[in-house]
Point group: C2
Chain length 163, copies 2
């Protein structure tokens, strides 16, 4: 079994892969007559290639059996893809600089208050959650063209998430 | 005191003002090898006027004293503005077709699983929450130009939210 210990997600360690949407680590602006703080401009939304536009969706994810069998990785050549959790529960992020080089894989545990925005072309695994019916707001791309590349592994490699 | 009973938010009754982002009322697509459902394309993001781009932010809102004193309404002439709650707690939406005509005001109670996307030009009150430290993901516009119009009321009118 492949072993890759997830580390806590931060803006710095995720920088090669995209943005972390995290109100704990930004300086807010006070707005709304003092009744709100705004943590401004946290993600680079990059969806206009090939005539694309912003697509706002809700995802409801289910946990996979442990150890997690990694059967595929995917990336979106035409747009960024943002996931923001809608419950305060940790979840998991798996990315790779080079999909064919296991040494380039990185796993992160995100808190339930951290979202991520995968940059265009960044290899990542589909949504990985620990809890049934985990809900996410997703901001990605709609429009013409093929915005999905997948690499499938046969056999799957098993992924030991033990920290 | 003005009295305006909030009614439960639905896609239909909010249609003149924008979109409701609600996974309970859309037909999902099954994705991610069966481990997720996607409720697709729930909001019209309209931020390109005047050279604008998408701005993703986090808001943290605080409740106002009751009865709520309405001192201003605002609208964004250059872009839509989407609010998605990040905790499963109800919140309040106050909009108006004509900011100077009280008969055109509408109040809605949103569940903690419902977001709204105010269309461009739609008069609305800043964020109204019931609970301290209520967190929202916000998708609106950044870019040149003045994207804020406000109308202030002096004296404020008090808003009785009794259902």
């Amino acid at each position: 079994m492949r072993r890759l210990s997830p580390i806590p997600l931060t803006r710095d360690n995720f920088l090669p892969f995209g943005d972390v949407i995290d109100g704990e680590t930004a300086n807010p602006i006070v707005i709304n007559q003092g009744f709100a703080q705004r943590f401004n401009d946290l993600a680079r939304i990059d969806v206009e290639a090939g005539g694309g536009a912003v697509n706002v969706s809700l995802f409801r994810g289910q946990p996979r059996p442990r150890p997690i069998a990694i059967r595929l990785m995917e990336r979106h050549p035409l747009g960024s893809q943002l996931f923001m959790p809608l419950q305060d529960r940790p979840w998991l992020v798996l990315v790779a600089a080079d999909v064919h080089d296991f040494a380039s894989y990185r796993a992160f545990t995100a808190t339930g208050r951290q979202g991520v925005n995968y940059a265009r072309h960044v290899w990542h695994h589909p949504l990985l959650v620990f809890d049934a019916d985990s809900r996410f707001l997703v901001v990605d791309r709609k429009g013409p063209g093929n915005n999905l590349e997948e690499v499938w592994f046969a056999p799957a490699f098993l992924f030991d998430l033990t920290p």
